[in-house]
């Protein structure tokens, strides 16, 4: 009997894993399980072009014509509820099971919700296509938007809403937005885009609660201020979808714990993308990367592991981009507290610059705003500089 590999999660990481299996000559059965009704689609446009109405559903489809030849068995609108590891079976919500020789965990992450926001119309999170469609409809009829959280979702949604003509206020608990990924200095620079484009940004401010009956009317801050709102978007982070694995024996932390080659503690089970906390030798801890390029590239490693191919652990240079108010922000590398950010081209005031982060005088990360060509060269240089197996 031919073997079966089950891929759980039918988004970027899951589809990339299925493609990688065929690329690496696996010719058995591949079953892809996904709980959404939609065929795989791309999430980044959901806060950008799709929300603005300039990209269609067809534009954001992840599937390519060649995928027809992969011979995948799709089980969409199907939720995995458990993994039985002795028989390596994926248990489905309808009571059926998929017996597999290998399992790829690619269930991604979901939006963290604001406690007390349940059942109030006009309050949105943004993770799925359905979320984006609902938000787009609501924004079309709204005048005032309050965004809670000035992370990636917050900044991108605020920017898109401004182009749609809304009055926008962003509320953030931290004193500086994006300080985690970019460092405080560069967080301040990027946050400056909000003011440039007429978005009000309130920093160091907590949310006490949402006001309204049936539909949201205002956001109340911890200092008592009430911000009137027709629509509220909550962008306060993402949580990995790992609850369904709670009793599976798969080791979990802030995500599915894996080694540097994506293997979990259970033989024949690998994890990739937003749900995976992958061991990083450089960081000396498990790191869960919540960005697109990781979900695209990591599955090749996971699949090689699953198929028993050896080889050194990859040493990726993490990369993400963000589009805000027409500015293209790109970041690559691994930044830590204490790294020194140095402007090597352009100027922050002009919103066109390249910044290199240095540790002990060596470049470890690079950030560009509206500098794609130079950024690409630096990103290459960082990749070339990472010693294999480190």
């Amino acid at each position: 009997m031919s073997s079966t590999i089950a891929v759980v999660g039918a988004s970027l990481a899951g589809l990339s894993a299925a493609r990688a299996l065929r690329e690496q000559s696996y010719d058995g059965r591949i079953v892809v399980v996904g709980d959404e009704v939609h065929a795989p689609y791309d999430r980044p446009p959901l806060s950008k072009e799709f929300l603005a109405g300039t990209a269609s559903l067809e534009d954001i489809a992840l599937g390519a014509p060649d995928d027809e030849d992969l011979g995948l068995e799709w089980r969409l609108h199907t939720t995995a509820v458990g993994l039985d590891h002795p028989s390596r079976s994926v248990l489905l919500h309808d009571g059926s099971t998929i017996r597999a020789d290998g399992v790829v965990l690619a269930t991604g992450a979901r939006a963290r919700r604001l406690p007390g926001s349940e059942g109030l119309d006009g309050v949105h999170v943004l993770r799925s296509l359905d979320d984006a469609i609902a938000l787009r409809e609501d924004l079309a009829a709204a005048g005032r938007l309050v965004v809670i959280g000035a992370g990636f979702i917050g900044a991108e949604v605020a920017a898109t809403a401004r182009t749609l003509g809304l009055e926008v206020t962003v509320v953030e608990t931290q004193p500086v937005p994006l300080a985690g990924p970019l460092g405080a200095d560069m967080g301040v620079v990027c946050a400056g885009l909000h003011a440039d484009h007429g978005t009000r940004l309130l920093l160091g401010t907590g949310v006490a609660g949402l006001v309204g009956t049936g539909r949201v009317e205002a956001v109340e801050l911890t200092d008592g201020t009430r911000l009137p709102a027709d629509v509220v978007v909550v962008g306060i982070g993402a949580v990995p979808n790992i609850g369904w694995l709670a009793r599976s024996g798969v080791a979990l932390g802030n995500g599915v714990l894996t080694d540097a080659r994506c293997a979990t503690n259970i033989p024949g089970v690998v994890a990739v993308g937003d749900c995976a906390a992958t061991w990083s030798a450089a960081a000396e801890r498990h790191v869960r990367i919540e960005h697109w390029t990781n979900a695209l590239e990591q599955p090749a490693t996971a699949v090689a592991t699953l198929l028993g191919a050896g080889g050194p652990a990859p040493t990726p240079v993490p990369y993400f981009w963000s589009d805000q108010y027409g500015a293209r922000i790109q970041f690559a590398g691994s930044r830590r507290e204490g790294d020194v950010a140095r402007v090597v081209e352009g100027s922050c005031a002009d919103r066109s610059f390249l910044v290199v982060y240095e540790r002990d005088g060596r470049p470890v990360a690079v950030l560009g705003m509206n500098q794609p060509r130079l950024f690409t060269r630096w990103r290459r240089q960082l990749r070339a500089a990472v010693p294999a197996g480190s």
Binding site: S16, A64, W292, T293, L296, P372, R373, T376, R377, R380
Partner: protein, 106 residues
């Protein structure tokens, strides 16, 4: 034909973007000139800003690679090829003839 620049202004390994109905990217690969549509077929990125590796260019945003000779895309996320355009070098000047394919696809 659209004049691009003198050959000396576009050394090997370099690329430039010219405005046409659709912007066009022109590359010099070891002395051979190639022209393709500048805008990536995936999303909004300029391929002239990409990474040139032999006869292919890697998109600066999501790394799909396009063959400069044929316009073909190597892999996701882009799904469709870019158009190629004919390049003519005359008296030390590089020209592009938009809408006429280069050597590869007809």
């Amino acid at each position: 034909m659209i004049p691009v620049c003198p050959t000396t202004a576009l050394p090997p390994g370099e690329a430039t973007r010219i405005e046409a109905d659709e912007p066009i990217a022109v590359f010099n690969v070891d002395g051979e000139f190639y022209a393709i549509d500048d805008t990536c077929t995936h999303q909004d990125a300029s391929l002239a800003d990409g990474w040139l590796d032999g006869c292919s260019v890697e998109c600066p945003l999501h790394a799909s690679c396009f063959d400069l000779r044929t316009g073909k895309v190597s892999g996701p996320p882009a799904k469709t090829p870019v158009r190629t355009h004919r390049v003519v070098v005359q008296d030390g000047m590089v020209y592009v003839q938009p809408g006429t394919t280069g050597d590869g696809v007809a």
